[in-house]
């Protein structure tokens, strides 16, 4: 509880920083559109094109948007926290080019959030797993199911290869959209 409040303060702080300091990024990357759920906002950055393409070809294209998996489905405030965090990370990364290697990796924090999203959509189906997990729960406010869903559902949403190697010709999906708009 305590911890959470502090987090939220920091979060709101960093929302401001993120948007302030990287103001120019905002128009450069239409960051405002972050606040929408439209997957296309994610490909404001070409580095996201692979994920867009793999998602677009996945079983979830019709089921879930990027943010529905990647952002907490719970409260809007949590959403804000997450967006702030990502927005910050992403802008930093874009600007400092910390992602020069092909393989962007999911962060521990982000994958916890996704796990939450999977469960929130598939509650019924995995209710037994949630039951079982209780007996082994190490960290009380850890995920309802410790083991990542995609340890088994390796292909869900992004397939098992997510990089330029899978979608070498997907640079410019965004451009396609822009022209088709």
């Amino acid at each position: 509880m305590e911890k959470n409040n502090i987090l939220k303060c920091i979060a709101i702080g960093s929302v401001i920083t993120a948007f302030g300091v990287f103001g120019y990024v905002v128009n450069a990357s239409n960051m405002v559109s972050y606040l929408s759920e439209d997957p296309k906002v994610c490909i404001n950055c070409h580095v996201m094109n692979t994920q867009y393409a793999t998602w677009q070809h996945s079983s979830h294209r019709e089921r879930a948007t990027c943010v529905q998996c990647h952002l907490p489905q719970a409260s809007t405030v949590d959403k804000m926290i997450a967006k702030a965090r990502d927005g910050f990370n992403h802008s930093v990364a874009m600007t400092l080019r910390t992602y020069e290697h092909n393989t962007i990796r999911i962060s521990e924090d982000a994958s916890r959030r996704i796990q939450g999203s999977c469960i929130s959509c598939h509650k019924e189906l995995v209710s037994q797993m949630i039951e079982s997990n209780k007996s082994y729960q190490t960290d009380p406010d850890g995920p309802l199911v410790e083991r990542r869903c995609w340890d088994c559902h390796r292909l869900t949403s992004h397939g098992s290869t997510r990089s330029l190697t899978t979608t070498p010709n997907n640079l410019g999906v965004k451009e396609l959209y822009n022209t088709s708009r």
Partner: protein, 483 residues
């Protein structure tokens, strides 16, 4: 349909609640647990479907020669479904034909991995009590096959290890002390209770009546690690032997199914894919996922086991697995042919008067060659679980076996038998004769036991209220020796 799911959901949770109701601790009759967990129980009973007996000795007649003087030369089959484990243990010619609770070749330890009555009994008496005496002593106590109680806590249903020797072994080995085992680890450890290499460690103790006893305690030789080399040194350091080979006089080792140990070296083990992920995959029924308890070949259910994690078609993946099996079969056939001949050639050398000195090095080669061969294939699944480790070890077994034969030729030459040709052992029967095995008699005695002592066990088991009739429904008498 979402609503339908919801309904089933409630039914399901209801059960979950009830489950806190009355299942006795260490209840060894799975039907009692089944009342609360129908899905798991029904699938558990489906292991009955895998009922074929594969006579391995017949398939490769080199084996009776390699095991000459040891139980495995009498009778050895491929594994069947869990449903049959007590039945097969009792039927095997290896367990012989006791006439009372003090006779028969085997110790009580042979029940250890066959029944949910084992934790129950250990809990009522003591572990050392369980491991003391002849196999026949517990004939009316061990009456049900592996069951819920082997792997589950009766109250929480959490996975639990019911075999203390596994916990000791993990702690001695050190890389994963039991206390550090995660949920995911347990999804393999419940299997490792049984699917691991073991030996019987003589242990002195004093029973409640104050009598000195020697228990034969199932022990995993893991102190130096899980590899074939680590266990080899473990046994060598202790000058341990399972038996002395009847023909070559070699102090031999038997490797029993190091399934867990070798799996860890494979692509799946390294990626923390648990036994259960493949052998007990989640099933979807209506709105819930539960674990299939039909522990069998995942190739019969690739959709649920393999295909979640793998792209491509079942057909392609199946072919890949088949190629792995062919590779193993190829080197395995070479190894058994080489090692069986080494035994016979050594026998000839002794016969011609070879000395201990001349033979010492040779026997060590044979001991290690056969140990390695056995370790690499005894778990049956190794060709898939750890194809590379399996092939590596088979390669080294072939090399050591051939080294022994090379040295033997030099000895044989010394006694003017350089061109000695081993006798024909191309069938199970011929091979067992070479091993001096009174096969007919073994079978006759066994049948007497089946119609005598065994029937008494069942009766007494029923009186004690241990016997679970549902665990014995329509079992056909199938063995390698029944005509």
């Amino acid at each position: 349909s979402i609503n339908k799911h919801k309904v089933e959901q409630q039914a399901m949770n209801a059960l979950a609640l009830n489950s806190l109701a009355d299942i006795k601790k260490f209840e060894s009759r799975s039907s009692e647990w089944g009342k609360y967990y129908p899905r798991q129980y029904d699938t558990y009973r489906q292991t009955r479907q895998s009922d074929k007996i594969e006579d391995v000795l017949k398939k490769d007649p080199a084996l009776p020669t390699m095991w000459a003087g040891y139980g495995f030369s009498k009778d050895y089959n491929g594994p069947r479904g869990h449903y049959y484990m007590v039945e097969d243990n009792i039927n095997s010619l290896r367990t012989g034909a006791p006439v009372d609770d003090k006779t028969g070749p085997m110790p009580t330890a042979c029940w250890t991995c066959k029944s949910a009555d084992v934790p129950r009994y250990m809990n009522e008496k003591s572990e050392l009590d369980f491991f003391t005496g002849k196999w026949a002593r517990l004939g009316d106590e061990i009456v049900n096959p592996v069951g819920c109680a082997d792997c589950h806590d009766n109250e929480t249903m959490a996975l639990t290890i019911t075999r203390p020797y596994l916990i000791r072994a993990m702690d001695n080995e050190g890389s994963l002390p039991y206390a550090d085992a995660t949920y995911q680890d347990k999804r393999s450890l419940v299997c490792a209770q049984c699917h691991s290499e073991y030996y019987f460690k003589p242990t002195e103790w004093t029973d409640p009546e104050g009598n000195e006893q020697v228990a034969k305690v199932v022990t995993f030789p893991w102190d130096n690690g899980f590899t074939v080399e680590a266990m080899e040194t473990y046994y060598d350091d202790r000058e341990f032997k399972d038996w002395t080979h009847k023909i070559s006089k070699t102090p031999m080792l038997k490797a029993q199914h190091p399934g867990y140990e070798i799996y860890m070296t494979g692509a799946h083990g390294l990626n923390n894919v648990a036994c259960v992920d493949c052998h007990m995959p989640y099933m979807r029924e209506g709105g819930v996922k539960y674990s299939s308890h039909n522990v069998a070949s995942p190739l019969d259910n690739m959709a649920n086991s393999c295909m979640n994690c793998h792209r491509g078609t079942e057909k392609e993946l199946r072919e890949t697995v088949e190629r792995k099996l062919e590779r193993k079969n190829e080197l395995n056939a070479m190894a058994t042919s080489v090692i069986s001949r080494a035994h016979l050639e050594a026998g000839k050398a002794w016969e011609l008067g070879a000395t201990e000195d001349e033979m010492a090095e040779i026997l060590t080669d044979i001991r290690h060659a056969q140990w390695r061969w056995d370790y690499s294939i005894a778990s049956h699944g190794s060709f898939f679980h750890a194809p590379e480790e399996t092939l590596r070890i088979l390669g080294s077994a072939i090399n050591k076996g051939q080294d022994a034969r090379l040295k033997l030729r030099i000895v044989l030459a010394k006694y003017d038998a350089a061109d000695y040709v081993v006798p024909d052992f191309s069938t199970k029967e011929k091979a067992q004769k070479l091993a001096g095995l009174p096969y007919e008699k073994l079978v006759d005695d066994k049948m007497k036991f089946q119609n005598g002592l065994r029937k008494e066990w069942v009766e007494s088991g029923k009186q004690k209220g241990l016997y679970d009739p549902k665990a014995w429904e329509n079992i056909e008498f199938k063995t390698s020796y029944s005509k």
